[in-house]
Symmetry: C2
Subunit: 350 residues, 2 copies
Amino acid sequence: MGGLASPYPSGVAPVSPRAGHEDALSALVDLVQDDLEACNRTIVARMDSPVALIPQLAAHIVAAGGKRLRPLLTLAAARLCGYPGPAGGARHVDLAACVEFIHTATLLHDDVVDESQLRRGLASANAVFGNKASVLVGDFLFARAFQLMVADGSLRVLEILSRAAATIAEGEVLQLITQNDLTTTERRYLDVVEGKTAALFAAACQVGAVVADRPRPEENALATYGMKLGTAFQLVDDALDYAADQVTLGKTVGDDFREGKITFPVLVAYAAGDAPERAFWQRTIEQMEQTEADLAEAMALMTRRDAIPATIGRAMRFAQEAKAALDVFPDTPIRRALVAVADYTVQRAR
Amino acid sequence: MGGLASPYPSGVAPVSPRAGHEDALSALVDLVQDDLEACNRTIVARMDSPVALIPQLAAHIVAAGGKRLRPLLTLAAARLCGYPGPAGGARHVDLAACVEFIHTATLLHDDVVDESQLRRGLASANAVFGNKASVLVGDFLFARAFQLMVADGSLRVLEILSRAAATIAEGEVLQLITQNDLTTTERRYLDVVEGKTAALFAAACQVGAVVADRPRPEENALATYGMKLGTAFQLVDDALDYAADQVTLGKTVGDDFREGKITFPVLVAYAAGDAPERAFWQRTIEQMEQTEADLAEAMALMTRRDAIPATIGRAMRFAQEAKAALDVFPDTPIRRALVAVADYTVQRAR
């Protein structure tokens, strides 16, 4: 799994160290189990095409795993808002599939942009099928997501998700610009995160209120929950990239470092660093002159400057804000599950 | 200018050899001049973003030229259908901008997929800004197109253009699969062309009828006109790629050959070729083993097998079908201009 050594002595079979946190997510899954299965069926049915390479490549990334976190949010948000009502309805299932298609399209394009060889511990689609197919199948999934939304028929949903799609692309371009730039401000870094990651979390949650025909304050509350949750999620991802002692399934440590990405822990370590440390970051991140030993050194500097706890601490504040946004909703099992997901997002770093 | 030598002796200033055909297009431009200028303003206004690289890169490709053929078709189709009426309206202008955004997004991604260095005789966006920015700005323009459509508010327009976007991606993937494959059938080749090129021509025309609220037969007639016109257009493009004696502005000869693309003239020359000719095509197109002299040899074989006239002849049939589709509309200056555009599409190869 990405070349990570187990933190456990060989021969010792540990109880899964993440069991407690996985349970937070599986509690949510349990509550929307039928919807999630229907969503998976929709995903498979709607990525079909007479051009066989499209479902092949899409299946590689859509069906090969992932936590389905974003469609889960749509399903859960709809339930939180009382949809489907006694008369039933499956709009939330179709829109959850849209959200996953948009996410998958951005993953395909990200991997091309990042020249990634691995995705969730498996060969990335671009590594297997080539960059060309990844670009084009990403385009297809994006278009197919819009076809699904059009079939749903809500201009409000289309507005929310088309704006999210534009914001994601802006965030990705901004990330490209800030790459290798240690003068990036924290605000600009958060702009990148809100764009590339949190905007889709926010939109995924918000459409749950739209299908349930809830008033604007509930839409906004769910959008805020998603935005804060997505930001916390990305901060933790940034921290995990430098956290070698974590059992991080399918995520290789040091990807961000090797790509010269500006992330929160780097900004913390750089700001707190002395002159030799700053010179180290300038050489490795700005000038991209890296040796084999540099990742270990980067991690050591982060430990010295408490950059990982600082990042997790910041993530906890966002998770707290996410949970607070749900206060407008009655205290139900689904709300408690969404609160637990915010905790899970941060705790997976522990 | 793609390194093309002028076919005219030096010192001789020819009357533009394409004046007659350019006039066909400029007659259409004259009829919708104000709309086209409004469309250009919308394009510039709506590709704006706080992320400066986005308008920079978009301007490189959107504003740097091109005939604006596709948005022209939307504007002209709307006029043909009586829009805007006496009460005015500018929906066709916004939707023409959408069509150009979708087209530009596919150009950006195409150039990444084809690893093109030139576009219309200028450095391609990926050559100037890099593949990463081209992928992501393409995504942005695509999303922005949908935002514009949502603001327009017609689910029918959204249906037509989201289906077109999915069909374009399918056509591009199919082209990737048929690349280097001389056993590609003519039908499969036409599937590629209808997807990658003609689907957007068709959709661009069809939405003109939708904004004018015309009945389905007129929508269908315009969709047929666009589909046939786009197919003729692509066939001629395929022919021009092997027609060194043409003054082809900004198009380098031999691009398709060097990429091993299966195009109509290749299929004709291969089908009609003797054993040594077939071996030549297999080596150069299937196995991609090419030497400097091979392009000239390919062109000589096409001349021997009349592959270029055969391709143009086929394009003329499609152009004829395009013109016939307009018969349901009254004979007006705008209809005559659209008929002339179909002729122009083929005549630019002369």
